[in-house]
């Protein structure tokens, strides 16, 4: 029997991605067996602690991995084309036009020695072949679109003349200037004041609605995820441990780690209780535990967890989780 050729093709399909960081001590795997898909116009959040591999995933997709890192396995298909097998220069050509990226720290993401107009117009001049005048006028339109007042006049200013929130708007302007189909936002609000965070997320949401681009949001902020995301993927120790629709995952986590994350959100009406935390620390990537990497910190762990690594399994509600006892974890009372 022949398998019917798949007609539907997701915008971004990451499959069994592995990324290795080299080093004198033999290096380590920053990502292992990471798989997820992102449809056009959809929002997926990668959620996890620092060092869980969220940013490395984004860098792998954008071909921005540092020099000592390499993709050691798996595929990254962008609208059907496998980026892993492409030379870096071809993937680079997709950056900007097809994929845009917003970085964590807007204070360092802009080049201090060029005017912002110069930096945004460069996209139109170099990538689209616009003349200088039309490129600058297009740049003015873009920074107008990200809500910077007096756009035309501000083009001649340097990055240091803007506030943090305004600089992040400029970074967003550069990421979306050429109307990419995929926007990757790597902790876009982490470095900003709380009051500005909401504005930036709202801006990203609005732009996404207007342009219909897909959004891969990398964050450790559970609240941000709940507000803007369709689906969420929880990462732990370089792997995805649970993925599914946000509401399902939030209300009934199937992985003990997800459950730990959810219960670590401080709740206003339980102000007298101690803050709930996950015991222990994330494992050293050079020395990950055997079996399920979460088992030393897991309150549900059984002997099998130390021996056998749980595969990702499909569960009810359109989600997947990598836990031997996922069904039992789901049946527990909802977290807070």
């Amino acid at each position: 029997m022949t398998v019917p050729k798949q007609i539907h093709e997701p915008l971004l399909a990451v499959e069994s991605l592995a990324v290795r960081f080299g080093g004198v001590d033999g290096g380590f795997l920053a990502l292992e067996d990471v798989s997820f898909q992102l449809e056009a116009g959809e929002t997926l959040s990668l959620l996890g602690e620092s060092g869980s591999g969220k940013s490395v995933t984004a860098q792998a997709v954008m071909a921005l991995l540092p020099g000592n890192a390499e993709i050691s396995g798996g595929h990254i298909a962008f609208s059907g084309e496998d980026l892993v097998s492409l030379p870096r220069s071809r993937t680079r050509a997709l950056c900007g036009t097809q994929m845009g990226m917003i970085f964590q720290d807007p204070l360092t993401a802009l080049n201090p020695v060029f005017t912002v107009g110069d930096q945004i117009a460069e996209l139109f001049q170099v990538r689209q072949g616009y003349g200088r005048r039309t490129a600058w006028s297009a740049a003015a339109d873009v920074i107008d679109a990200v809500g910077i007042p007096d756009a035309r006049h501000r083009l001649n200013a340097y990055p240091h003349q803007f506030s943090g929130g305004m600089r992040q708007r400029l970074v967003i302007a550069m990421a979306i200037a050429l109307k990419p189909r995929l926007l990757i936002a790597d902790e876009p609000t982490t470095a900003l004041d709380v009051t500005v965070q909401a504005q930036i997320m709202e801006l990203i949401g609005n732009l996404q609605r207007e342009t219909g681009m897909a959004l891969l949001l990398i964050t450790h902020d559970l609240g941000v995820v709940a507000d803007v995301t369709d689906r969420v993927a929880i990462m732990y120790a370089g792997r995805i441990v649970e993925t599914g629709p946000v509401r399902v995952v939030y209300d009934h986590p199937a992985h003990p780690y997800t459950r730990g994350l959810m219960s670590s959100i401080p709740s206003l009406d339980e102000s007298d209780g101690p803050l709930s935390t996950i015991p222990g620390l994330p494992p050293n990537p050079r020395d990950r535990p055997s079996g399920c990497p979460f088992h030393p910190r897991c309150s549900f762990a059984k002997p099998v967890c130390a021996v056998e690594r749980p595969p990702m399994r499909a569960l009810s509600g359109g989600r997947m989780a990598a836990c031997h006892f996922a069904e039992e974890v789901v049946r527990l009372d909802p977290v807070s």
Partner: protein
């Protein structure tokens, strides 16, 4: 901006005045009277006294000092005891030789140093980087008088293709310029390498890549311009050192520039020329630093005042 400039000019003035004072005292602290050095051991006391008074050396040190300062303002350094013409004229004759030597060394160091540093930084610990770093460390460690003598042995004695000294033949500048350039080149290579490596790790370089710009543009435009900021500062400081290094190199190669003039004049206790030489060298140093500061403001919009 004008306040900044006034401040800079004032501090430059203090530096020049300080250097002039130190050299005025130092050269007089060296044993040996100019008149005795010049006339030789057979001179009579009357001859010596006559010469001393004709050069004003019989006046008090303080009045000599005042006169030196007052004349200095108009670039009048008094007559050279040794050469019988105005010291300013002696300096003006020697200056082009040193300036061309310094200029060629600067060009060699920059033209060779930038590409080598960039290539090293693009593939850190690659074979190019390893070879270049060995050469640049050696280049910095070797004393220039030794390098000069080795070059003379190779190119003048053995191969007989370049003159060992003087400035008569057109190829004569090659060896002194290379000798002077070598330590400077080494500094430039290492500065460019480390500066670029640091800048390549910056967020805006990632941004430029995420914009889909080609790597040549990312490095050549976004990284290089930022890397220049620290490099220009230190190149400016080192250029001052180049003037000092010229003293040794010019002596080794008998190059008729300021450096050799300074050494010869010290030996002859030619006070006016020694003073003039030092003042001119310090002035050059101050001017270079002023240019560097202005360049710095041009390169880095964050330090531009009043914008």
């Amino acid at each position: 901006m004008s306040g900044y400039l006034a401040h800079r000019l004032l501090s430059s003035f203090v530096v020049i005045l300080g250097a002039a004072t130190i050299i005025f005292v130092a050269i007089r602290a060296v044993p040996g009277d100019p008149a005795i050095v010049m006339l030789g051991p057979s001179a009579t006391p009357e001859q010596i006294a006559a010469l001393r008074s004709s050069y004003g050396l019989d006046q008090s040190v303080f009045s000599q000092y005042l006169q030196f300062l007052i004349r200095m303002v108009t670039f009048d350094f008094g007559p050279s005891f040794r050469l019988g013409m105005p010291a300013g004229q002696v300096i003006a004759n020697a200056l082009p030789a040193t300036a061309s030597l310094a200029f060629i060394s600067l060009c060699v160091a920059l033209v060779a140093g930038f590409p080598l540093g960039i290539v090293s930084a693009l593939r850190p610990n690659g074979w190019v980087d390893r070879v270049v770093s060995i050469f640049s460390m050696t280049g910095q460690a070797l004393p220039s008088f030794w390098v000069g003598i080795m070059l003379v042995l190779i190119f003048s004695r053995t191969l007989r293709i370049l003159p060992s000294g003087g400035a008569e033949s057109p190829g004569a500048i090659l060896m002194p310029a290379l000798t002077l350039a070598l330590p400077f080149l080494s500094v430039v290579v290492r500065l460019v390498r480390s500066g670029l490596l640091e800048v390549l790790g910056e967020g805006y370089v990632q941004t430029a890549r995420a914009k889909g710009l080609k790597e040549t543009r990312v490095v050549g435009r976004h990284a290089l311009r930022n890397m220049l900021i620290p490099v220009v500062t230190i190149v400016g400081l080192e250029l001052g050192g180049l003037l000092g290094g010229a003293v040794i190199v010019e002596t080794v190669f008998a190059w008729p520039g300021l450096g050799r003039l300074l050494i010869d004049s010290i030996a002859a206790r030619d006070y006016s020329v020694v003073q003039a030489c030092v003042v001119v060298l310090v002035l050059g140093f101050v001017l270079i630093n002023l240019v560097v500061d202005l360049l710095y403001g041009f390169l880095d919009p964050r330090v531009r005042v009043g914008s």
